[in-house]
């Protein structure tokens, strides 16, 4: 096989692993959109916030230490202990559930029956708030995140591809783990929504709010539940992305990439989110690989959006979405 094809294959493989990250964020979007019809712009910042909180718990940081130090002239930073990862993760999940509860109490409850566009703008506000809160609570510097996932080049992929093609591919082990974890997460979500009582209620609400209300499903509980699950998915995405390149602000920009992913996959489809993420991940890497000599690098910045734009013009419901019949 020629070198170009091999390099392209390697680029595609790496794109696949980036795509998993997009899928994880997009998954959170889809969950909330299905259950409440809200397009949650804050999903990416939730991932950032979850990762920050996890690191904060692990290293025993004092929350709001910068603020307290500035206000009272003290200089506290750490509690002086560290928390094992196994304890820090449930603690972070508890924080995300608390956050979901607060969002429902303070924001969503008051915006019921508003136009989707108003809700969308409210989540943009929420994203800003959460971003500022995360930075004030835990500090804005880039933090390394280590939850014990293996890192570095995958020997196995390297050797297998070397034996096959005579050229070893460089793939991060972490990406393979991300792939596996994403698969487990999706399976768990599917089992939850298909076979448990709450999962069934969730699908009922997604189908028809009013009908679900009339058979006695508590809408407000379901909303807290979905936002909690979205928080959990955000945590997983945050852990993956954070272990790869440190917990930093750019994490929340990934959220924006999830928008084209959703348009590609369809707003209402969980498999769509996964496939869309993979397609965009591979697509942008391959596009960059082939087009770099022609139009210059860094096309990853816009390729996903332009692809989504093209999709919008020809297939607005996405690959797997339900057909929207609406005159514009």
């Amino acid at each position: 096989m020629s070198d170009t094809v091999l390099y392209a294959l390697e680029a595609a493989l790496n794109g696949l692993t980036v795509g998993i990250m997009y899928s994880l964020v997009a998954l959170g979007f889809v969950l909330i959109f299905k259950a409440s019809g809200i397009f949650n712009f804050a999903q990416g910042v939730m991932a950032l916030f979850a990762a920050l909180t996890l690191v904060g718990f692990q290293t025993g940081q004092v929350p709001f230490s910068h603020l307290i130090n500035a206000a009272f002239g003290t200089s506290i930073h750490n509690f002086g202990w560290t928390m094992p990862t196994l304890l820090a993760i449930p603690a972070t999940i508890a924080v995300m559930v608390g956050f979901a509860w607060l969002v429902e109490r303070i924001v969503l409850k008051h915006l019921v029956n508003q136009a989707p566009i108003i809700l969308f703008m409210a989540t943009i506000g929420l994203a800003y708030f959460l971003e500022g809160l995360g930075d004030i609570m835990w500090g804005a510097e880039v933090k390394p995140l280590n939850v014990g996932l293996p890192q570095g080049m995958s020997r196995w992929v390297d050797e297998t591809t070397f034996n096959l093609f005579g050229y070893g591919f460089f793939v991060d082990v972490l990406s393979l783990w991300a792939l596996a974890i994403a698969a487990v997460l999706v399976t768990a979500l599917v089992i939850f929504s298909q076979y448990t009582k709450q999962g069934r209620a969730l699908r009922a609400v997604a189908d028809d709010h009013q009908a679900a209300l009339s058979v006695g499903i508590s809408l407000r509980f379901i909303w807290v539940l979905t936002w909690s699950i979205a928080g959990l998915v955000a945590l997983v995405a945050g852990i993956m992305w954070g272990s790869k390149s440190g917990v930093q602000f750019s994490l929340s920009l990934i959220a924006l990439k999830a928008l084209p992913v959703l348009i590609l996959g369809g707003f209402t489809s969980i498999p769509g989110a996964i496939v869309g993420g993979l397609l965009i991940g591979v697509g942008e890497k391959l596009f960059d690989f082939f087009m770099q000599p022609v139009i210059g690098g860094a096309t990853e910045n816009w390729f996903a959006y332009m692809l989504a734009l093209a999709f919008l013009l020809f297939r607005p419901q996405g690959l797997f979405g339900e057909k929207i019949i609406e005159r514009v």
Binding site: A71, I106, V107, H110, Q114, L133, D135, M306, L309
Partner: protein, 358 residues
């Protein structure tokens, strides 16, 4: 006491439909205008002009533009930053290609160029709406910024990737470049604000504006009563982009003097202008002024309050600002969806009866 409409009789349709129906408002408007043009320029210092007044005036234009699109026509756009960049880069290219061209003409031409780009990216709005359209405008945001930072032609292959505005004069006074006086740049921006606000007010209350509002309120019904959605949506995109483009041109040419697309016109700028429109009031000219004033002044107040007087680190103040803005957006949407303009209206209604409520 002063704020009364008793005795202020309207005898024609025109006088009934004027912008300021109450006599006191009318006088106040002329007094403010007179003060702004004839008195303020003599009392400007560099700090106030560069950090508060000129940004305020420029963002008023941008907010007016976005308000036309979102508030009047109901089409969400997240690409404001990129359209401002189009205005800025068009200004740069035009001044480089045609050095003799009057700088005001350049600013207006830059607006027209942005208008054309805006219509191009507005085309998807004929098929999609809501946050689908938001994604389409995000495509504009990232694609255009990439174009301006990666394709050398746009910044004349300057090694830093920055564009710089040369000195240009108007009526013998330098209005751009480092030698421009505070009064000159203030009056330049003020001129554009007055013209643009007048334009926006008259467009939105005429046929065009009414067809935009019809599309916003219910597109199908609008089509049935004879509004052409194609024309209404594309004119909204064109006019809105024109405003935003002029704002971008002024931001680059008059305020910054040198800019780099990714830094000066990134996605954060889009959100900033969007927030001005939301906090100020969707679908209100006054709201654009209030929103721009609020979000230009808020960071300055926070900085003076927290950093200068309490001695907090400046990054902490910035994070607090982000948090406050986010919370405000949510609060405004919950409590007063029509923003500060609606509060202003409530105050005026109360004032009309004050101090004798019966």
């Amino acid at each position: 006491m002063l704020y009364r409409e008793a005795g202020d009789f309207k005898t024609s349709y025109a006088s009934d439909n004027q912008t300021f129906p109450i006599r006191f408002d009318r006088y106040a408007y002329w007094v403010v205008l007179l003060l702004a043009v004839c008195v303020v320029p003599f009392f400007l210092n560099d700090y106030w002009t560069k950090s508060i007044i000129v940004p305020f005036l420029i963002y008023v234009i941008a907010a007016l533009g976005l308000n036309i699109l979102i508030g009047y026509c109901g089409q969400l756009s997240l690409g404001t930053g990129a359209f401002m960049a189009v205005g800025a880069y068009a200004t740069f290219k035009l001044t480089m290609m045609a050095p003799g061209l009057n700088v005001f003409v350049v600013f207006i031409l830059a607006g027209l160029v942005t208008s054309a780009v805006g219509v191009l990216f507005g085309l998807p709005s004929l098929k999609i709406k809501g946050f689908y359209l938001a994604v389409a405008t995000l495509a504009a945001q990232f694609f255009l910024i990439w174009l301006f930072t990666r394709q050398g032609w746009f910044f004349n292959y300057s090694p830093t990737g920055m564009i710089t505005m040369p000195v240009r004069t108007m009526l013998g006074f330098a209005v751009t470049g480092p030698s421009a006086s505070a009064a000159a740049i203030y009056l330049t921006c003020l001129f554009f604000v007055i013209v643009m606000a007048w334009l926006a007010r008259n467009l939105t209350r005429g046929t065009t504006g009414r067809s935009w509002m019809a599309i916003r309120d219910m597109d199908i019904a609008a089509e049935i009563i004879g509004v052409n959605p194609l024309i209404a949506k594309l004119t909204a995109f064109a006019v809105s982009s024109f405003f935003v483009g002029v704002a971008g041109a002024l931001l680059f040419g008059v305020q910054l003097g040198a800019a780099e697309a990714g830094e000066a016109f990134g996605i954060n700028k889009s959100f900033l202008v969007l927030f001005m429109v939301i906090i100020g009031g969707l679908g209100s000219i006054m709201g654009s002024f209030l929103g721009a004033a609020f979000l230009v002044v808020l960071p300055v107040i926070l900085k003076v309050l927290l950093v200068d007087s309490l001695g907090w680190p400046s990054d902490l103040a910035r994070h607090l600002e982000v948090m406050i803005i986010g919370a405000l957006i949510v609060l405004v949407l919950i409590l007063e969806p029509h923003g500060m303009a609606a509060l202003w209206r409530t105050i005026k209604d109360k004032l009309r009866l004050w101090p004798f409520p019966h």
